[in-house]
Structure formats: C-alpha cells, structure tokens
C-alpha cells in the first residue's frame, strides 16, 4: 500500500525566534515500517514528530503523507491518518471517563454513534483495558494511562502511529507490555525515544537526528553497531548490546 508512504522533502523548521530546529530533513518511510528517531535532547526529534500531523508546519520544504502535502488545508485529513501519542499522557487524557476520552476522536470525525462505540471498545480491547472504560483517567497508573492514550489514537483507525517517548516513566512490567503492544501493530510506526533497548526490539529501521539533520538512516542493527556514530551524537549502544560488566569482570578474574 504505497499510498501511505511518508516523505520528508528538504524539510526545515525554525522557531519564531529564528533558531533552526530542523535543517533540510529528507527521508521516505513505506507502509508498515517501524522506524525509530533517536538523538540527544534538543536534536529535533519531537519537532520532527510534530510535523507528521501538522502540529507544526514546515518553514520550507515539505512533509507528505500518502503523497498529500501537510498544509493547513489538508490538516483534517492528515490527522485522521496520522495518530499522535504524546509523551505526557495527562495531556492526552482530558475527558471525564476513559471511554469518553477514547470516543473523543471518532466523535469529532463525525461518525455515527454505533460506530463510535464500536471503535472505542475495539481500541480499548486492543490495549487490553476495556475493563477500565468507566474509570476516571486521572486515577489510573502511568502504564494504564499510556495504553489508554494509545487507544485514544487507535480509535481513529490511523495508518500511521507517531509516538514521543512511549516508554518513559513506565515501570519494567508496564514497559514490557507496551513493547509487546507496539510489536503487535501493523501500522506504520514512528517512535522518538531515548529507550534504545525498546527500539532494538520494536524498530527495524533507525534515523539518527543530530542538530536538526538526519545524520544516519539505516537498519537499527547497523546503527547500534556503529559506536563511533553513536558517540558523536551523544548516544550509547543499548544496554542489551553492551557487554555485561559483571561477566567481563568474571572473565578477567578467570
């Protein structure tokens, strides 16, 4: 399904105070790919994500979703096909009950009531939290909130999921559930994160962002093996790919 291709064409963005956030970004992501955006704090990962659904609009160059350029006029359409999961779930869950929150997007799409209900329940079932549908979002745990936030986006049945630090602040068990969930999706996934171990499991392709530019675009395996590149971009190989400090100590002694 090539019509869901995501293309950044010489995309640049500078903040109102003229500081450059993105500087000539180029990439192309095909349908069903799972792509990681990694880079140091302030490299431009979140800014780039915001361009995917037009929360920010390019200063020059173009972002295209399924060959449709992201502009003010196409926003409504783009936002139905690109679902954005924000870093702070409390920003995303603003309604009084979990169900109302998940139904918010489909309702705004003007869908019939029965369809809204079906979608909301299906989305909650996908993240395994249908039992919480009448609860108030602010009484939930961090992991539950994150999964509900994902459900709010799934209910709009997007083709693309864009996520900002989906695993941050989660305990190991909640993180493990999230990884399982992300791996089960067939959507095109674009995930910005510092959790390189999660990325090693979820994403087959990685873009390294440094100072607003894409400095590397390759398979995750190759990127994580290039220690020189990672170091240059203030990153480290994921822990699971580093040699175990305890074992290596034992080896030395042995």
């Amino acid at each position: 399904m090539s019509h869901h291709i995501i293309e950044a064409d010489n995309l640049s963005y500078h903040y109102p105070d003229k500081t450059d956030a993105l500087d000539g970004i180029n990439f192309s992501i095909t349908h069903g790919e799972s792509v990681a955006l990694i880079g140091e704090n302030g490299a431009g990962k979140s800014t780039l994500l915001m361009h995917l659904n037009g929360s920010l609009l390019a200063s020059s160059g173009e972002m295209r979703i399924g060959h449709i350029p992201v502009t003010k006029r196409t926003l409504a359409h783009i936002r139905q096909s690109v679902g954005m999961v924000f870093q702070d779930s409390d920003d995303q869950l603003f309604m009084a009950t979990v169900f109302d929150d998940v139904a918010f997007g489909p309702l705004n799409m003007g869908l019939a009531e029965a369809e809204v209900k079906r979608r909301a329940e299906a989305a909650l079932a996908t993240v395994g939290l249908l039992k919480l549908k009448d609860r108030r979002p602010y009484h939930l745990s961090g992991g539950e909130k994150r999964r509900i936030a994902i459900a709010t986006v799934l209910a709009m049945e997007p083709n693309v999921l864009a996520m900002d630090e989906p695993s941050s602040g989660l305990d190991p068990k909640a993180r493990r559930m999230l990884i399982k969930l992300l791996k089960s999706f067939k959507h095109t996934r674009i995930i910005a994160s510092h959790d390189l171990d999660m990325i090693a499991e979820v994403c087959e392709r990685t873009l390294v962002i440094f100072a607003g530019k894409v400095v590397a675009d390759d398979t995750t395996e190759k990127i994580f093996a290039d220690h020189e590149l990672l170091k240059r971009c203030s990153l480290e190989p994921p822990l699971s790919m580093q040699s175990c400090p305890v074992c290596s100590m034992l080896n030395k002694k042995g």
Binding site: M50, S55, R79, D90, D91, F94, L107, N108, Y138, M156
Partner: protein, 270 residues
C-alpha cells in the same frame, strides 16, 4: 501530608460519590441544576429578619441527603470548613444593628443577631444544596448539563477543564512546595520572594500544559465543540422532581408556613 494533597483527596472523594447510582444520582443533571438554581433564588429572596420562613427550606437538602445516601457527617465537615467565609461576612451585623427585635424568654435579641443567624442559615442551605449537587452529579455532568441548558460553551469548557486539571495543578504545586521545603530547613523558604517565583513557575507550567492539551485535542479533530456519546434523558421522574420542588418552593416562599400554622390552629380549635 500537605494541605494541598488533602484538598486533592477531598475532591476525588466527591467525584467518587458522584459515581454512585442512587435515585438522585440517576436523575438528569439538567433537572438537578434547575432545581438547585431555583432553590438558591428562593432562599436568598427572603427578608433578612425572617428566620422562621427559612426552616421549611431545609426539606430540600435533607431530602437529597437521604435519597442520595450521602453521609451526614461528610456534608457537615465540608459546610463547617466553608462557613468561615459566611461567618466573616455576617459577624459585623450584631455590631451595627443593635435595636432589639425580639425576646427569647426575657433575653433581648437585637436585629443584628437575627440577621446574622439568617445569613448563617442561608449559607448552610445554599452551600449544602451546591455540595449535594456536586456529590450527586459530578463536575463533568454538571458542565454538560449547563451546556444543554444553553450556557455558552466557552464557560462550560472553562469549568470542565478547571475541574479536570485541578488535580494536576495541586499535584504540581505540592511538588514545588515540597522541593522548596526540602531546601529551606524549617524556615518558610525565603518568604514572599520565593513564593512569587514559585507561583510564576506554576503559571508557566500551566501555560505550557494548556498548550499541549490544546495540541492533543486538535490532533484528534477538535474544532471548538465538545461532543459526547452519553445522552441525557428527561423522563417522568425528572418532571415530577422539578415540578414538585417548584410548587414546594413557591408555596413556602409566599407565606406557606404561616398558612400551615393557622390551618393547624384552626384544626385544633374545632
């Protein structure tokens, strides 16, 4: 525990009670809103020296309290806490209005004391009605009810978001206060100076959060109108509830009490 987190728990308590399902809880929020409004108007419209006329008004909050199974002590605690404001307003009356109005046995009572008691009674009536509305309906349904009654959506949304994010705001504020306390060694931070910085930080954070929420809402197709699947239904129960309370209020507002008393005397005579 800090004062702020106590308030936090308090509000969530109220929201939990709003989730119950008594007869009153199940009523359409619109009829509860209407009756509460009319009740408040009735209570404040009495003459300020007219103590006796206020007594029958207690029927309404008492009815809600019993029908909605809200614990009496719970309501009283809230009332006592809030009564400080009414007390401050009313306490000046006995000093200005010293003319004797009535005798309690042989003790002369001045007009000031009568109006003071009247203020306190009215406070107890209106505040308990408002609290009971909140505990039987919940903030979300109140705001949706207001919207359905024709209140402009801008106000309704303000109210709704205030109630939704108050939790986070108190949470953030208590974290800031704790961080300040941890570095001020028993003194009150640096007094007003640090307080003003603390408040401005809180303001900036809220501002950022508001922007993030707005972006998140826009991402899910928000275009200025809140929609919801849950529908309100105005049925027979709502009509009976509203009409009978209106009749009740009108009757006791226009000297119903003295009519009842004279009827009682007449019955005793014959």
């Amino acid at each position: 525990m800090s004062k702020l987190s106590e308030i936090f728990i308090d509000i969530s308590d109220m929201e939990k009670m709003a989730g119950r399902s008594s007869l009153v809880h199940r009523l359409d929020p619109r009829c509860k809103l209407l009756v509460t409004l009319l009740f408040t108007i009735t209570v404040v419209s009495f003459n300020r020296y007219d103590l006796m006329a206020l007594i029958p008004c207690f029927t309404y909050p008492l009815f809600l309290l019993i029908a909605a199974e809200i614990p009496f002590t719970y309501l009283m605690k809230k009332l006592v806490l809030a009564s400080i404001f009414a007390l401050m307003l009313g306490i000046v009356n006995p000093f200005f209005d010293r003319e004797t109005m009535l005798y309690l046995g042989s003790v002369p009572i001045s007009g000031g004391w009568v109006s003071f008691i009247s203020i306190m009674l009215r406070f107890a009536l209106t505040a308990s009605a408002a609290l009971l509305l909140l505990t039987t309906t919940g903030m979300y349904n109140i705001s949706r009810g207001l919207e359905k009654l024709g209140v402009p959506q801008v106000f309704v949304m303000q109210l709704f978001f205030l109630s939704r994010y108050l939790f986070l705001l108190t949470d953030e504020a208590s974290r800031l206060v704790r961080a300040r306390a941890a570095r001020s060694f028993g003194q009150r931070g640096l007094g007003l100076n640090s307080l003003s910085h603390l408040l401005s930080t809180l303001f900036m954070r809220s501002f950022d959060r508001a922007e993030n929420i707005y972006i998140a809402m826009r991402c899910r197709g928000f275009n200025g109108r809140m929609r919801s699947v849950t529908k309100f239904r105005w049925g027979g129960a709502e009509t009976i509830f509203t009409v009978s309370w209106i009749v009740f209020f009108i009757f006791f507002r226009f000297n119903g009490l003295s009519y009842v008393i004279s009827l009682y005397h007449q019955l005793n005579i014959y």
